[in-house]
Symmetry: C3
Subunit: 344 residues, 3 copies
């Protein structure tokens, strides 16, 4: 397994123009990061040939920047290898015939807030078992796969379908609901609008054409060697501390010491949090370290429900998987974050 | 009764230039609203001939924008018909010979804060029975008539007079007082300043020449068919919800169903709160609906004392009267808000 | 004793260009204030000849603006007369051989926050008895002398030395510590960095070359006649009230009445707080009054630990000394503030 670095990158990608990052004050570093931050193509290469940076379903190798990071798992998918579940999902592109549900304000706000950390609109797939969303952020650096099982609802009745939701507006509406207020949701099959009832107030919210919303990414199948589980407050503290000195945060594991380090290096100052087994709820130790964009880690960790245990899984210069549950396990969240490669 | 609309407006008012509303993004709607938002002239027409848009006491029909809305009740007044009470008030234009009062911080802050919702300075009339203010906002859309009876004060001793008060400064000074702190007010007849004592700190506040403050508006005598009384929290919630989708808020009553609707219509999304008799403390139902500027309703509803019952009275395309009391009924507030006329 | 005024100032200082104060809206007053706000040179003159406005150690009378206010006590010092303690301090210019300490978050935050009111970086002198800092603000108007005795620490072990500390960064790091969290500090003599441990998180903070930090000012020896001790909340209230009407605050004492007045005069409005012996914890009354910049008094009073008694000492048109303690008296703070001279 390897990740492209500036030096060997030329072979893998013909002439790429990195996304403009105009406010960055370290121009010499950013182009490098933009190019290299991607799920290692070798991961997909293990199972099938990959045309990197190509989401054209014809399979032609047209170089394209937009999906060169997390989302390039799509390529593999569209070229033939798809498991049964994904095939099934792909079939449903229209709204559901029936969607009527009631849920506590706290749970639906948590669900929508989580997705809002990286996207403003998303396809919410509904089926008889619950709702589910997979979304990737515009820069292809972070991805969420979040599901809210029917059991998380006070009442739930739905057929298969997909709803294109303006999450920003939805989150705004949900502000009217307190944690324990009942939020009633129903899809009006005549007006094609989502009706939201909160304690007597009825909102009628226009939906977005799901086809106009960015394609759902595939989850790459990766074998990440390091895994640890920790109270969310510890991650929050590390992020807060790292934020004082740097723009990136490193997760590092020393196998022999069975210790995880969360570190940040600034120009003059450093931050380090050392976590041994006694600090961790679980640990699968292996030698490895990876660097991530602090902004993304901040946005993702802000959404952690208070008091929750978070499981982080990573490998050297590989993405990090961040997993947690809430609503008594009825809501499962998986965030995936692309690594940043250090230039020195 | 009718309210001018864009189409028939040309007759009533020769070439008017609407007040500039530079940050408005819907230019085609605003001129219409500016012209039409006024108390129906027919209301005054019932009792006497009205020269619209004219506050020149000579009675000449000089078109004038400044007072074309709520305040045009003045015209009627200055042209001869005035009731005894108004005549009485009109006589007093100087400061009182004596004004010495003490009041709890909470009550005076509430009184001043209420007026501050629409004006920065006001004439406060004092007499042996209490203090009273009537003020109209610069755009002639909203008016307050608020009085604080002598009984609202811990001690009160005053003769007839009028004080021109910088409400902004007064509110700032009152911030130093907690809810139950005693605020002592006295008018210094030598320096012509208001002396405010709050827990040892003495403020000496210059007053404003009452003649330099905008003329107090007349309260038009209107017969508004719909009236309902509701907990202030319900209005606040409706306003908060409406604010997510629109700039205006509609109050509508269906007589047969004995139901009041508070509604807002945005470009794509709608909000509706349905209030039946069980939600209301009182209801006089009649068919009717009227649209109001959300910004004004927001500013006015922000001032509602928590837990208070509010009585709203309105008629189709007529102003809304908003009435409530606080300080055990010793403070009475009446707000009047001009309607907005929908263009479609 | 006298303080220069605009009229007699020309003799003392050849052609001075006042510091630019571009956002000031009262240009005719400010140049005067800038020139005159200084510790009366006569104070030093009592003990030895003074070359005002000269911190050149050669003693040549080169007019210089930078140190013309509080800091001109330095001049006296550098020209030969120094007491033993100052001589001792002057010797130590390098970092300590040993500095290892642990302290509660609350105490160290209070210490750093206090200095932050006027400077962004400071020399912190450490010795076996504790740490101590003296700093003057860039405009030479306010000075702090603050010390934290070894007894304020949970553990303390240090040799003589001086650390150049970026207080802004240090304060930011300390935000991670709660009031009762243990903050461990140690100076790494190999990397020359300060290591800060807060509940598992380790910060490595680069230090600043102490020689690049502004010279520590001397404390002028003054005989100020008025002194009173008061609960900090009273000062806060006065400052808040004064801030509503003016940019300056006056402290005045009437000896016969044994009363202190804290006053502010705006263009139209005034504020006054009268404090008699019953309001004061202690009073040494004498006739006198002095005016101070409200911004500085605000910044200094914001740092007062809640519930603390503050001792203020001043003389007519002389600096004010503001003294208080915290951490059971282990931390002593002395702030000195130059007076403003009224032009009328």
């Amino acid at each position: 397994m390897s990740t492209n670095t500036e030096s060997d990158n030329a072979d893998a990608k013909p002439t790429t123009t990195p996304d403009a990052d105009t406010i960055d004050t370290e121009p010499q570093v950013e182009p490098e990061e933009e190019d290299e931050v991607e799920v290692s193509p070798d991961v997909e290469a293990e199972t099938e040939p990959v045309e990197p940076d190509n989401d054209d379903v014809t399979g032609k190798e047209v170089p394209k920047e937009a999906d060169d990071e997390i989302a390039n798992g799509d390529d593999a998918e569209t070229e033939g290898e798809a498991d049964a579940e994904d095939d099934g999902e792909a079939v449903v592109t229209g709204p559901p015939q029936q969607f009527q549900a009631a849920i506590k304000g706290g749970a639906i706000k948590e669900f929508v807030g989580t997705l809002r950390a990286i996207v403003d609109e998303a396809k919410i797939r509904v089926d008889p078992d619950g709702i589910q969303t997979r979304a990737v952020d515009p820069a292809n650096v972070a991805m969420y796969d979040a599901s809210l099982a029917a059991g998380a609802f006070e009442s739930y009745d739905a057929t298969d379908g997909v709803l294109g939701v303006n999450l920003k507006r939805f989150a705004e509406i949900l502000k009217l609901a307190k944690k324990d207020d009942l939020v009633q949701l129903s899809f009006n099959t005549t007006t094609f609008k989502l009706v939201v009832h909160i304690d007597g107030v009825e909102f009628t919210m226009a939906l977005i054409d799901p086809d106009s919303i960015r394609k759902e990414p595939e989850l790459p199948d990766m074998d990440l060697p390091v895994s640890f589980t920790i109270e969310e407050a510890q991650i929050r503290r590390s992020v807060k501390a790292a934020d004082m000195v740097a723009d990136h945060i490193r997760f590092r594991c020393e196998e022999a010491e069975e210790t995880v380090f969360i570190e940040a290096e600034g120009d003059t100052d450093n931050v380090s949090l050392e976590l041994t087994e006694s600090d961790l709820a679980a640990l699968t130790a292996a030698e490895g370290q990876a660097l991530y964009s602090l902004d993304y880690v901040k946005d993702i960790s802000k959404q952690f429900p208070r008091g929750t245990e978070i499981t982080l899984t990573f490998g050297s210069d590989f993405p990090m998987m961040i997993e947690y549950e809430f609503s008594n396990g009825e809501c499962e969240v998986l965030a995936m974050l692309a690594p940043r490669i250090q230039s020195d």
